[in-house]
Symmetry: D2
Subunit: 385 residues, 4 copies
């Protein structure tokens, strides 16, 4: 029985959505203890939220700065092991930077930060301090996403020719941000969300999923972004043509105005000898096609799957696992890495790192540049550029 | 922030399946603390399991009798609030009886006990002691099952004419119990599983689902049970015709030898003006048909659903919830009832009670009687008979 | 280029449904010429229908008796080769008997006749006259139904343990027969439809499909028939438990009051090592499961299918074929048999014969007997009894 | 009963695919008589094919030129009414031109011709001669495609914002053209297929479907075409971003190397208040979403559909119609137009005309131009340019 890791959360108080998801996911496998929090940007609300969520009164801080200071004053055996940042995007950078510099492990929601320069700075700090820094691209935690990755990497569909990824939502098809919907408000506000709307919020997930599963590296892209809802300040729909190093091609669609879709993330990978299809809303199935054979329908928790998928399966086949379980899988890997850090061992693992987050930020920047350009192809900058 | 309830678990140690599911589900919403356990029928293994799962050393008991005695000696503020029984079926009765008589709340897995007489005895004790006694018919915890119930009860499909329920599994299509599979061993052993095989294990879920959703009361049934796998001692397949009070009809299929099915529980309810269909393996969707209208596809976490479904929804639509979440929903209602008990309030609630469990036992007994009878219809005994 | 066969149709005029389906299906492959007709029971309407459908004026008869007489007076090279009977059920017998006795090939819609005695009489005549006599159990014409049959017969799923067949419709959920719907009127009228309602109309298809695919022979059955719509005179819903020779079991559901279903015929066959599932409303797919393997999704017109399915495939995979094509496949086999008859060769073939029709009549009779009986099992009479 | 139209076919003999489809489709509704043919580019094979298909010996021509001459010499009452061109693409133009100039109605397969100039010339001739000239964009014949068009045009989803159309095939994932597959050979040969591969063969269908359903007019496009199979001379995969007049956006994918797909044509249309989705491989269903409502699943042949869909429905709901029926629907409209021509009435109707074909040719040319350009957007030329 390994020790439960103590975490402090920034954001995630009253009216928030994703903070509760993180807490549920962290609770699932008994690896974490919710120990401290600066749960709102309004001090009063932060304290009230901490109380409501059962934090001890001296661990419910008014601000994240206070939390950092307060925790650092505690003895190592009581101090939080990690900070979990679930604020609107614009707060990610200062919080991540401060805690990372203090040597506290960091888990940040995506997109990591607003600019490539910020991301590079975080990468530098993480490298220097040797901490665990994870970005919650949670969809990579699904067992069958791990199976897709295995099948691609083991050559089961041959060299990849083409990738089609779609992230289809419809919840922003009307001007919800004017109707008091907090989630819509900050996501459509450039000051809090960053320069990208749908592309930052969900396009970044699509990019990460493609990259994680295929290992392909983007060479160039061609983006057409649109703001369909009148008066909205950020894109709510984006369509991209993709070119990968080595000749593979791709199509990405990310939209928040496609009525009828809820959280419809679909990945299709086509290779020289086969293809794969996976759909987040029905995550326990994976379609595998091979030349001249019937399509095979792989399901979670069966013996024909690889060890990566098996390792993150809690319950038998036919008992559906979902979003929280996938999220918890990412947190499981993070916990293992933090424990290895404590043991002085390698902190690498099967979780999205600060470098994945930095690549995501470059993706958003390149997409915006392409959208503003008359040139068909905008090159994708490699890491460190 | 309400206090976390302390629970002691009987069963659920090394090699068990459902115990871990209960623990995951109880962890999800932070309502329970895993405090004590008699986790195996082998004392040594019980203690080893307790240690592995992080129980304090004086709360990892060798036997359930020791746990009962040990906990009763503790002050009320430390003692477990409830016992969770996740053993093979034959152990349910003595444990449930002993803890209930001691005034400790009980959660028991299904089927409740082996005989109707045992069930009636438990009902009597529960009535006398006024405790919360829940049976984990977990499928009733799905939001869209609650929505089905609401739609039926509110008359949205008119008077119910017919119910078709199928619980299709294939994992026992071969003689797995001879290959060291612990789950298969006890489920096919009359001494531990009871006189019914598939009908007890999954038919009982089907019965409960029909009863919960429709409120119909069985009048008579006609059962054909089969043991397809040579050498097996209990039924592995059962098909039933059902007659309900008031004239509705039904078909139930419960099988563990239908290769290709995993945990395929499907409920269809046909009324005079519409119909409903729900499928456990894709639990976030509900088909609703009405006369002369297109079929409507309802999905979890949308504003058009009723309050019961909304109340047990954690995350937005399109982010799939699954089996654990549904299980946790049942535990959420149980926790609320126990807290109400503490407050001296009504302990009724939206969870399956000892009476549901007793009805399930009568269902199994009647099914076995019908299977042995040449008469077409075997009457279904009402409660108290 | 083989000669087109000349057919005369009885029934199928104004207001009819299935007659036009037969004509479409016969037209599809250019094997038949629509030459004569007695298209309605009302002489005036019969003649008017013939004219509207382009028959020559001397081939549009007022009655089927006139058609039989008129055609027999023509020289062999002009006379109709076959009669196609698409009337309400009660007319099948006299027409089939008269034409068969005259040595004219017969195609009759199902159910063949009202009584087992009538069916046995037709079998006798057919045997004596050596003609082709087909019953249009059209669902057997689907390529993937033929593939199912091949897979079962070749042992790909091992010995069959269980069959589940459902024929789900909802169009008679209200009393449509009182609203001027001709199809509903005669189907719910015992004088025209026979003693069975849904069981005769669609249960008979289900029986034939099971028999064709599996080759299993019924040993006994247990039926529960219901008339849900008040005032209706025949069953509109039936549920059966089935026992086959050799120990296989089955469940059949046939309903015309299940709102939301249109023509939802589903067959599932479970064997010792695998299973199959096919769905008439999506007829170009076949699910094949095998122990411990992913489910395989077979699709029409692919090289991995057997020769029977390939032989009745007109267009490439992905270009959906449907109901008419399947119907036409049955007619293709009938045409081939009639041509073989002309050549003095064996008239057997892959089409449903008078014996299939007779077995269907016995099935209906046995089902009705079971429904009226208190005994659980009613034996199924073998042919000739 | 209207007269059957006499047709002569060019192409469609031995080894051909689409010719037989046309003949099946024309046979279905008894509106056409197969009267003459020049069925192959090899005279000997042409005659042999004519004989095999049952044409009279003097109507099986060696060449299309001979057919044109032979038919013109016949009296009007015997002469073919229309020519049906089902050759490889490069033959479309000369045949269509010659018959059109002779005043014979023309049905041509798509893509119409190789160049915009040829298409404009055909448009001119058709205008002058006043004949019916149809291009078999057969997918527009599906009832639910007509329903989509109706719903869009009637404003049921509000102004269209975005269209996503995919035409996914996998049959050319390997170099089938080197293995004696006739269909693959000519489709990958620039001399016969034209300058486009997948884009001409299936992209043209996708363009037509979008245009037919939405009525949107292309303003500009951005294409990325790829030839994935080494040694192939034409594109086998293409992905496009689309901009329509008025601000709508689109994505088109057309591929013949996506293993696992057969003939997977999918159209999604997103409007301000709702959306639609239709899938050719399951053509009897249509998904309709509206803001804040459950998705509705519309099915063919139900009373809630509009008159256009109802008019082209042969058989009741739940009895699947498919590809041939849709093809036959297009031919039904063509037949009606030809009859109207005979009556001196308006020949317009619900079928794809020479102008649709010409727009399709411009689409292919513009796509190729874009693929060769470094500019992001290539303007789409309007008709007459």
């Amino acid at each position: 029985m390994t020790r439960r890791l103590r975490y402090g959360m920034v954001g995630g108080g009253e009216g928030a959505f994703i903070g509760a998801v993180h807490r549920h996911a962290m609770a699932l496998d008994h690896r974490y203890a919710f120990t401290a929090g600066a749960l709102s940007s309004t001090p009063e609300r932060a304290v009230r939220s901490a109380e409501a969520l059962g934090l001890l009164s001296d661990r419910g801080y008014e601000t994240w700065e206070a939390m950092l200071e307060g925790e650092l004053q505690r003895p190592a055996g009581e101090r939080i092991d990690l900070v979990v940042i679930v604020t609107p995007n614009h707060v990610h950078y200062p919080v991540a930077k401060a805690f990372a510099e203090a040597g506290i492990h960091v888990v940040s929601d995506k997109p990591l930060v607003h600019t490539g320069a910020q991301a590079a700075e975080l990468e530098r700090i993480v490298r220097e301090r040797g901490i665990v820094f994870a970005v919650t691209y949670n969809y990579t935690g699904y067992p069958l996403v791990k199976e897709m990755r295995r099948l691609v990497r083991e050559g089961r569909i041959g060299a990849v020719r083409k990738v089609v990824v779609g992230y289809h939502q419809g919840w922003l098809a009307t001007k919800l941000e004017d109707q008091g919907a907090k989630q819509a408000e900050w996501r459509t506000d450039p000051a809090r969300s960053g320069a990208a709307g749908a592309m930052g919020d969900i396009g970044s997930h699509a990019e990460n999923l493609v990259s994680t599963v295929t290992g392909l590296e983007l060479e160039a892209l061609c983006a057409d972004l649109t703001t369909f809802v009148p008066g909205r300040r950020l894109d709510d729909d984006g369509n991209l043509l993709l070119r990968f190093e080595g000749g593979a091609k791709g199509v990405m669609m990310a939209s928040q105005v496609e009525i009828g879709h809820e959280n419809d993330l679909v990945l299709q990978v086509y290779g020289e000898t086969g293809s794969l299809r996976w759909h987040q809303e029905n995550p326990n199935e994976l379609w595998v096609a091979a030349l001249d054979e019937p399509v095979a329908l792989l399901r979670r928790a069966n013996p024909y799957l690889g060890p990566e998928a098996a390792a993150v399966t809690r319950i038998p086949s036919g008992h559906p696992e979902g979003y929280l379980e996938a999220f918890a899988n990412v947190y499981g890997e993070i916990a293992a890495a933090i424990h290895r850090h404590g043991d002085g061992a390698d902190i690498g693992g099967d979780y999205p790192t600060v470098s994945d987050g930095a690549r995501g930020v470059r993706f958003i920047e390149t997409t915006l540049a392409s959208a503003a350009s008359d040139a068909k192809w905008t090159p994708f900058p490699s890491a460190g550029h």
